[in-house]
Assembly symmetry: C2
Homo-oligomer: 332 residues x 2
């Protein structure tokens, strides 16, 4: 079994062989192949720029892997800002002894996801760190997108805004946790990891004035709503019955004592729109395969203290705490 060696991160001949034999083979485009110190690209004058580090464990999970996650994650961070994802850079930090075939599988998956999302990987770097175990890899991706739909910002959210999610919540987090804990829900239950620019573009092309959009990754829906409430001083009342959550996700949360609203998604969006636009938004989302289970889950309201309130199916209310503590390390 071929394993990654320290020399492949040294910047010498072995590094060059790895770049040409693996990265250029799969991430094949003239900008990357120029192999200069920076990629030269043309863009519109307003761009979005983002970065994310991925340390998920297990590296391969149902519905994806660390590579797909990195590409989709950065694409989605651009998409929710109304930016068409264009160019990505990727840095790999790999433990010495890591299986070459696993690296190849990751790179292959990144190339496939990049193609699906219509983005080019134009810059990269590889470092190899000494280790005894050789099991870990970290992937950091950064991305540039052209701002096609400006004016999306958490600061736009107003009292009365409808809160909509594009699909079931927590699939990614629950799927990774299930695999880590050795539960098996069968092939059907997978991470939601997917790039979302096509869905966002489909929606915004209709001219619907979306106030704000987020992909609820680390910290899940709860993190998004709390960050929004801190940013614009409103509260949210969420109807628990309306939040789409799969039975498997509820099951694993009950078993591990977790709150499903805290679980990461990697292929969903949360949106705030004026109430009058809510129906149109739902219709547009549901037309697209990635938004077919979209649901209106609640509203922004004015309260003395910004908070997130859940209305239970019995009509009672409870406060949703912001995610905190050592909940879920290495979930993305």
């Amino acid at each position: 079994m071929k394993r990654i060696r320290l020399s492949e991160g040294g910047g010498g001949e072995e590094t060059w062989k790895l770049i040409r034999g693996l990265f250029l083979r799969y991430f094949n485009n003239p900008i990357l192949s120029s192999l200069e110190d920076s990629a030269l690209v043309e863009v519109a004058s307003k761009i979005a720029f983002t970065t994310d580090a991925f340390t998920v464990k297990p590296i391969f999970f149902r519905g994806g892997d660390i590579g797909k996650l990195a590409v989709a994650g950065v694409v989605n961070d651009l998409a929710v800002m109304g930016a068409k994802p264009l160019y990505l850079s990727v840095s790999f930090i790999i433990e010495e002894g890591f299986l070459y075939e696993d690296l190849e599988r990751i790179v292959q998956s990144m190339a496939k996801t990049a193609e699906e999302a219509n983005v080019l990987i134009v810059a990269g770097d590889t470092k190899v760190i000494p280790s005894n175990q050789g099991r870990d890899i970290y992937v950091v991706a950064s991305g540039i997108g052209e701002v096609v739909y400006p004016n999306l910002s958490s600061k736009n959210i107003k009292e009365g805004d409808a809160i909509i999610v594009s699909g079931p919540l927590g699939d990614h987090g629950a799927c990774v946790l299930a695999q880590r804990e050795g539960f098996d829900f069968g092939e059907e239950f997978q991470s939601d990891c997917q790039p979302l620019w096509d869905l966002v573009d489909h929606l915004l092309k209709k001219g619907i004035e979306v106030h704000a959009m987020r992909d609820p990754t680390r910290g899940g829906l709860s993190a998004v709503l709390h960050e929004w409430s801190w940013a614009c001083g409103v509260s949210f009342v969420i109807e628990e019955e309306k939040v789409p959550i799969r039975q498997e996700v509820i099951g694993i949360c009950e078993f591990l004592g977790l709150e499903a609203y805290h679980l990461a998604c990697e292929g969903r969006i949360v949106l705030a729109v004026e109430e009058k636009d809510a129906e149109k938004t739902l219709r547009a989302l549901r037309e697209h395969p990635k938004g077919k289970d979209a649901s209106l889950i609640g509203y922004a309201v004015k309260k003395d203290k910004p908070s997130v309130i859940l209305r239970t199916p019995y009509g009672t209310h409870r406060l949703l705490e912001p995610p905190m503590g050592e909940l879920l390390p290495r979930i993305c």
Copy 2:
């Protein structure tokens, strides 16, 4: 002693406290403070985009640290492509238990280097990985620059071109190695780690037609010349006497059996210019404090097989091998 906890990478309240209490405090600018999923920035239509992962050990060394290295490294990768560095993103992967005060020192140093280089850190991410030791941190930086001087490319290098370096080679690599091996050359001998756009801009503003430029990091001068020879099919003859290398660097190379030409620099440039422009280039570089020890070290020549040839002070020749093997892990 305050240490980084897993919860500070979880995306919940503790992560937010770390972002506001540390990163926003030092990397203070309105683009980053908006805390959206991507930074929105305005740029010219031609940009350069690059990424680099930093895993150097020790994290703090004479003349710098992993944070300064990350900012300077990305700034220099943009600069050598003729691009004015504008915006940076930074991702931290931190071992649980890492000292908070060390992280603060790194962040402080990044902020200082970014200010010196006149760039804004506009996007970031933090992940915390479980660990027993808590000693490691990896920093990945990506950068965007405006292409002010296009047409720099290793493909431009031609037979007869003069090869110039901006200062002594190998200081960074030798300094890190010395600290790792417990040698002490005194305070004077430091890493050359520094951002170089000011030097590059000073030179190119004079209208000198530089063919190609590189910062000789991993693999040192040897990697740059070999990559150039592969890219454009020429060879290089380098006069060993003309290559500025400090006594300390020669000492540590002799002791450890290393080739000084393979040692990383983090604050030098290597340039190829037409012979007729060599004197003007040297003069311009020497006018600037970061280029005061610039030296013309050799020429591009035509050979049957692309190679890098050293002419020794005795007039004999030897082949310089490309860097290979497990030379220097975690040097940058």
